[in-house]
Symmetry: C2
Subunit: 111 residues, 2 copies
């Protein structure tokens, strides 16, 4: 999985890169412009090393770029279209948000 050269693997890497609360929050924050690692650390409230690793993963997935200026490293979204992507995600499931197919975990479910 290290080098996602085929399409499914790249899709999976991208989806995984956003499928975590801290990473989603990071991506969301970066929509309004670049942020340094410690900005983002303050945002998500985890250890800076943890955040750094999240950023590395997102970068490897192709979501982010990094630029070092002085002591700080600024991360930036590579794509301009995250907002519409989120709308696309939200639009995936049109109807009831809170109880998605509520009986999905009842034993002996379908009837």
């Amino acid at each position: 999985m290290s080098n996602p050269t085929d399409r499914p693997a790249r899709r999976i890497a991208l989806l995984k890169a956003l499928a975590h609360p801290s990473r989603l929050a990071i991506a969301d924050a970066l929509q309004s412009g670049e942020r340094s690692v410690c900005d983002l650390t303050a945002l998500v409230g985890a250890d800076i090393s943890t955040v750094s690793k999240h950023l590395r993963l997102m970068r490897a997935a192709g979501l982010l770029t990094a630029e070092k200026r002085g002591l700080k490293v600024f991360y930036r979204l590579k794509c301009p279209c995250l907002l519409s992507f989120f709308e696309c995600v939200d639009g995936l499931v049109p109807d009831s948000p809170a109880k998605p197919d509520a009986d999905a975990r009842r034993p002996g479910f379908p009837r």
Copy 2:
């Protein structure tokens, strides 16, 4: 995380539901219509119980619905728009697919 009632949690559940090779393949297959669990088991080549659990997860995320007819349970995509969603995912990162930000794992990377 069990009942994703807030927006980020629902987004994450949806993204996770697709961020796995078997589940992505299942979603892809269901684009051409409903399939039974053993159809899908043949498709992904894992134990049927494993596939059943993948399906449960995807269903809990709100991606799928299930309908039992006779002995079989048929799963179907809840949304009609998966294809355009995949295009949306692919479009997230416009440029070079094979080596996304190649120096992302070099030590002391930015310079």
